[in-house]
């Protein structure tokens, strides 16, 4: 788990979203106050680590995830992947960086092309990035599916013929075929039923152990993060309010907001005492 440089280092990252000016502001020529979606966020992702990012809707966790891969252009700050400046990269260089950090989104249906078979989608990703082994499509796809515990029959199907859990596995497989070092999973298990969610969480743990990918795991459910993350970062109104070992943060939260989040987590209210052990 120890390496020379952390695979991903983010420092002082900021992103503002401008709002349309109101009539009064336009008349007085005043600037609209922008919304700071990500406000001075810094963290490092260690090698082979799963870092959970938690927060409520509007806390900026998705914007943060998108800024890292520059799907959203950050306004300030540094992002380094293995020492390479992500913000300065252009063209081919940026494409190569994006290969090395892949994203998995919440809704696997809208992130897969409905007209492409699973096999074609997986093979295309490999071909675009000229991955070794992508010349032999069939073999390449079979291995990709195997990695996410799917049978090769899936390759001939279209996304609509798959269940939610299978689709999300395909989305993960497609992220993995290009050989990333960092996986950014944005609410990747939030839309799934608990039993399927458990299968997917196991998969993320397997990937980390077998392939050594580091994962930024964005989720609004604290319990989901508790299941997979080594460390957790809590976001509130664009700021990173607390970061630390998951067990330590959950057992002994320092920030008031973290405390309120943990307190709101639904806990069974069982009238009788548990059976004596």
């Amino acid at each position: 788990m120890s390496g020379p440089a952390p695979p991903l280092r983010v420092e002082g990252l900021c992103k503002d979203f401008g709002l349309r000016r109101t009539v009064t502001e336009r008349i007085t020529r005043a600037e609209a106050e922008p919304v700071r979606a990500v406000d001075d966020v810094s963290f490092t992702l260690r090698r082979g680590e799963i870092l959970g990012v938690a927060g409520e809707s509007g806390s900026g966790k998705t914007t943060l995830a998108r800024c890292i891969t520059r799907l959203v252009e950050p306004d300030a700050g540094t992002i380094e992947l293995d020492g390479v400046d992500v913000r300065a990269a252009r063209g081919r260089e940026l494409r190569e960086l994006r290969r090395r950090m892949q994203m998995v989104f919440q809704d696997p249906y809208s992130s897969l092309n409905p007209r492409m078979t699973v096999g074609a989608a997986l093979h295309e990703a490999g071909r675009v990035h000229k991955r070794p082994g992508s010349e032999d499509g069939e073999q390449f796809v079979r291995e990709a599916l195997e990695r996410v515990h799917l049978g090769e029959r899936i390759a001939k199907r279209h996304p609509r013929e798959l269940s939610g859990g299978q689709r999300q596995r395909v989305a993960v497989a497609r992220a993995l075929v290009v050989g990333p070092e960092v996986l950014i999973a944005d609410e990747a298990v939030s839309a799934l039923d608990v039993s399927v969610q458990a299968q997917l969480l196991n998969l993320f743990l397997d990937l980390r152990d077998e392939l050594g990918v580091a994962i930024v795991f964005v989720a609004h459910q604290l319990a989901v993060i508790a299941e997979v993350a080594d460390r957790v970062a809590i976001m509130h109104l664009g700021r990173l309010v607390e970061i630390g070992e998951t067990a330590a943060v959950f057992a002994n939260p320092q920030d008031e907001y973290t405390k309120s989040l943990l307190a709101a987590h639904p806990q069974p209210r069982l009238s009788e005492a548990p059976p004596s052990a």
Binding site: V194, N202, S260, R269, L270
Partner: protein
């Protein structure tokens, strides 16, 4: 809540079918449950288990082309399935309220919040304009909306998700119903807002003696507010009982597997693989014989093909559809140990 009192709602042998171009689809196969006045009952299950349709069947809101093919639904001694349009309208207006997952699509976006509430009150309760206005403000403040006079003038889009759900609860409870159907009321909300909405539901239920049928896929939500819970799988209720008994001594293998799948805060720092349920839920187009969970069950036996899915009593109020009872021996031993210690 005494067990001897007459149930407010009884569902028995409910079957919901959809006739489509690809043949018949059975979404609810045989569901039965009862709710006492003022009681909060949870209905938990994964997508496709039939929980939402069971809930909607109570006021005959099964979407077309679905239909209630068999079964009995009795509300306060009245047969809901046989009701004529006028009676049904009466039932929906006065006796049973319903709230949905998405409060935005259930409110009319072009009318002010206050006007929507006032309209409901005037139509359902026949109040005068002024009376309805006053009552609407009362209701808004009762569901925890501050400054109701001003807020009544707002439009739905000016409200946050949590506030909209509060308005929906105000609407659904406006005519003093005795039963509230809540279909995933907090799924679209953040945890802190979810906690507030659940607290509001519990308070209203106690203060006004409203029974609640809370449908959710989240065991955590159910366990927080419910007295009793029914677990649904493949169109059947597979287990039902007091929340404590279900949590600690679940008798059905599906309930156990579901509980084991639920992510827990306590797992922090001890990231371990979960024992996931293999396979996928049953296809509603299949006709099944025997136990619906058998193909995925770790404890399946040849005799499971003959299981009727009827609920059998384990202990008072606790019933399971699994006759194999793979956990009975272990629990019995634990109980005996506990007894010996006492």
């Amino acid at each position: 809540m005494s067990l001897a009192s007459k149930p407010l709602l009884t569902i028995d042998g409910l079957r919901v079918e959809f006739d489509g171009p690809d043949g018949r689809l059975v979404a609810v196969r045989e569901a039965g449950l009862s709710i006492q006045p003022g009681e909060i009952v949870g209905l938990v299950g994964e997508s496709g288990s039939g929980k939402t349709l069971t809930c909607r069947s109570v006021i005959r809101l099964v979407p077309w082309p679905g239909r209630i093919a068999a079964g009995r639904i009795e509300f306060d001694g009245r047969d809901v399935v046989a009701m004529k349009a006028k009676e049904l309208r009466d039932l929906r207006a006065h006796d049973v309220g319903m709230i949905y997952q998405d409060p935005f699509s259930s409110l009319n976006p072009v009318f002010r919040i206050g006007d929507q509430l006032t309209e409901t009150l005037r139509v359902n309760l026949g109040l005068s304009k002024a009376e309805a206005r006053a009552r609407a403000l009362e209701l808004l403040s009762d569901v925890g909306i501050r400054d109701p006079e001003r807020r009544a003038l707002s439009y739905p889009h000016e409200f946050s998700g949590g506030m909209r759900q509060r308005v929906m609860i105000a609407l659904a409870t406006a005519s003093q119903p005795r039963l509230l159907l809540a279909d995933e009321p907090t799924t679209a909300l953040d945890v802190t807002t979810q906690a507030q909405i659940l607290a509001l539901l519990t308070r209203l239920s106690t203060e006004r003696e409203i029974a609640v049928l809370l449908v959710s896929h989240d065991f955590g939500v159910i366990a927080q507010v419910c007295d009793r819970v029914a677990v649904m799988y493949g169109g059947h209720i597979v287990e039902m009982g007091p929340i404590g008994a279900l949590y600690r001594e679940a008798q059905h293998p599906y309930t156990r597997a579901l509980l084991e799948s639920v992510p827990r805060l306590e797992s922090a720092g001890r990231a371990t693989r979960k024992t996931a349920i293999p396979g996928a839920p049953p296809d509603p187009t299949e006709s099944l014989t025997g136990c619906v969970f058998k193909p995925r069950c770790r404890y399946a036996q040849p005799s499971c093909d003959q299981v009727s899915m009827a609920l059998e009593t384990v202990s008072p109020g606790h019933e399971t559809a699994c006759p194999v009872r793979p956990f009975a021996a272990a629990d019995g031993a634990a109980a005996a140990r506990a007894g010996a210690q006492a």
